[in-house]
Subunit: 337 residues, 2 copies
């Protein structure tokens, strides 16, 4: 019998999660049934959306129950197979949650496809975050030649892809990142046309200066004060795909002045399009085209990306807490074994 360790939600956080909200457990895996696989997890993806699952509030997905295993996507190796499509040693992408080993139905895993990139790419640039960028830009943002696209968390897996897709479409990519190291990476390694540090006291003025022709697409993945700086810069008919609001995930109350009228006023005055989405919605229609189009560009280095790999399963909670504070630098992945 295989012993697995798993990290469960010990209690719901009030505001920012702390170590006490998580608990590590040891379990014995069940027997592998017909059509199932036993997996040894290699890498665990940590993503901001997981903060939402820790709250009881209903969202697009059910919350993780208290004492339930934290959800998440992983790269894993097949250690036992009772399904004809998989052999021991195969590498797969699975939704095992935060655990070291798991038994899962074979029809819920996918064979790893990374076009020659490392396995971790399947969790980032070629996985859910990369596709989130691709779907939001392809279906909602639709940047045109000469337009200006702004994205925050630009050194992260979604933001870095958004800016590079903008440039592939002939648009100008303006990134927002936190601190000089991340800003330098966005400008020099990712090749964005401009980058602005949201920690600078005159951030809003700098952003305006970086967008002399206004903003045609603001890819919203952070919310908060960045939105306030972007709003006055949006051009008529600007598009705002909304895939994340990490800046407000940990908020416990509301601010003391109402920012909604300004937003709705701009929606009306500038004929804005704001569209929330989860990449699932577009996966059937666009994921194959994403892999075919972007996979080779990642493999040949046309599309750059960065990963932040934390070593050790037990470090997942701390790494996740840091993610919500912007401490990671690149796609955050935990090396499990």
């Amino acid at each position: 019998m295989t012993t697995a360790r798993q990290i469960v939600l010990a209690s719901r956080p009030h505001g920012a999660p702390t170590a006490e909200n998580f608990r590590t457990e040891e379990i014995t895996l069940p027997q592998v049934g017909d059509g199932e696989l036993e997996l040894k997890v290699t890498y665990l993806s940590l993503d901001p959306y997981m903060r939402g699952r820790m709250s009881a509030a209903k969202s697009y997905a059910e919350p993780v129950p208290v004492d339930g295993v934290m959800q998440g996507e992983t790269v894993a190796e097949v250690t036992v197979s009772r399904h004809p499509d998989f052999e021991v040693g195969d590498l797969v992408r699975a939704h095992t949650g935060w655990c070291t080993h798991a038994v899962v139905p074979a029809d819920r895993v996918r064979t790893l496809q990374t076009h020659g990139a490392p396995a971790t790419a399947a969790l980032g640039v070629l996985g859910m975050p990369g596709f989130t960028a691709y779907a939001g830009m392809t279906v909602i943002g639709r940047p045109k030649k000469g337009e200006t696209v702004v994205v925050a968390a630009a050194s992260g897996p979604v933001g870095s892809m958004v800016g590079q897709l903008a440039q592939l479409a002939g648009a100008r990519a303006v990134g927002i990142a936190g601190g000089p190291r991340k800003c330098a990476f966005v400008r020099d390694e990712l090749g964005f046309d401009a980058v602005v540090d949201h920690r600078d006291p005159d951030f809003a003025a700098q952003l305006a200066e970086a967008c002399p022709d206004g903003v045609d697409v603001y890819y919203e993945n952070v919310g908060g004060t960045v939105w306030d700086a972007v709003l006055p810069l949006l051009n008529t008919f600007a598009r705002v795909p909304v895939c994340g609001l990490v800046a407000q995930y940990n908020a416990t109350g509301t601010g003391d002045s109402d920012r909604l009228p300004a937003t709705m006023g701009a929606v009306l005055a500038k004929s804005l399009l704001i569209r929330g989405f989860i990449q699932n919605e577009f996966a059937d229609e666009y994921y194959p085209q994403f892999l075919a189009e972007i996979g080779p560009k990642v493999a040949d280095g046309t599309i750059a990306y960065r990963e932040d790999i934390v070593d050790g399963f037990d470090n997942a909670p701390e790494a996740f807490i840091g993610l919500l504070e912007g401490k990671n630098f690149g796609k955050l992945v935990v090396k499990v074994s």
Copy 2:
């Protein structure tokens, strides 16, 4: 020489406009040049968007300058024609602004087309407000059979059309109106499936009860507290065309709690589409089809509507002030002569 009276913006309002913000002037019309028409205004349309033009803030249209003539659409009779397409006595739709007579270029007026309905219909049900409803529903709202459509100011020219278009598409129409008289009209004369009075203290609970399957399209033309009541009822993939925010036009400050995070959170959690628009954007593509499709339905009574006709040019400012307070009952039009 023809003498005209016109109402100008005497000063910019702070909050709700008052009589002092308007001034009536008498002018002598210029000579009618080649390609121009002299018009005698019959009816002046009063619409909430005019409040925006009274403010200095840049919006989708330039503000009216102080001492400038208040802008607006009118029905008028040609009294002098120096253009081959028009004859004296022709009825036209024009943008003369708030005045009794005007000289305008002939290429800026349209011959009245009301499919047998009264001339005032060209300013309401078959004019800009009716088309605003049609464009927002056709392009953005896209109600499907069995869905629920909610609209506020349901007895007004936009709202009444929105609900009837929803029903033509097989959707359920839920109207919001202020006071028992308007509510009875929406239910009994317009035939909405349900109506809720936003003045009732338990308005939000009543709205929830009237929408047991949630809300698929919220046609936003008022903003304010109605939005707060609708937000929790919106279904995944709900569409929100935004064509007006009359409840916030007169606001002078911001509330004391921030409503933006809840809105953006819902955008993300429910994959909402919010799209501001001005009917101009869709006029070339959809106005002819609107007239062809809706004109006969207005003429044969399939589509009901109501007008609130105020007698006398001098009453325009008071009527407009009342419009922003919801005092009108139906499309507000001033009978000029």
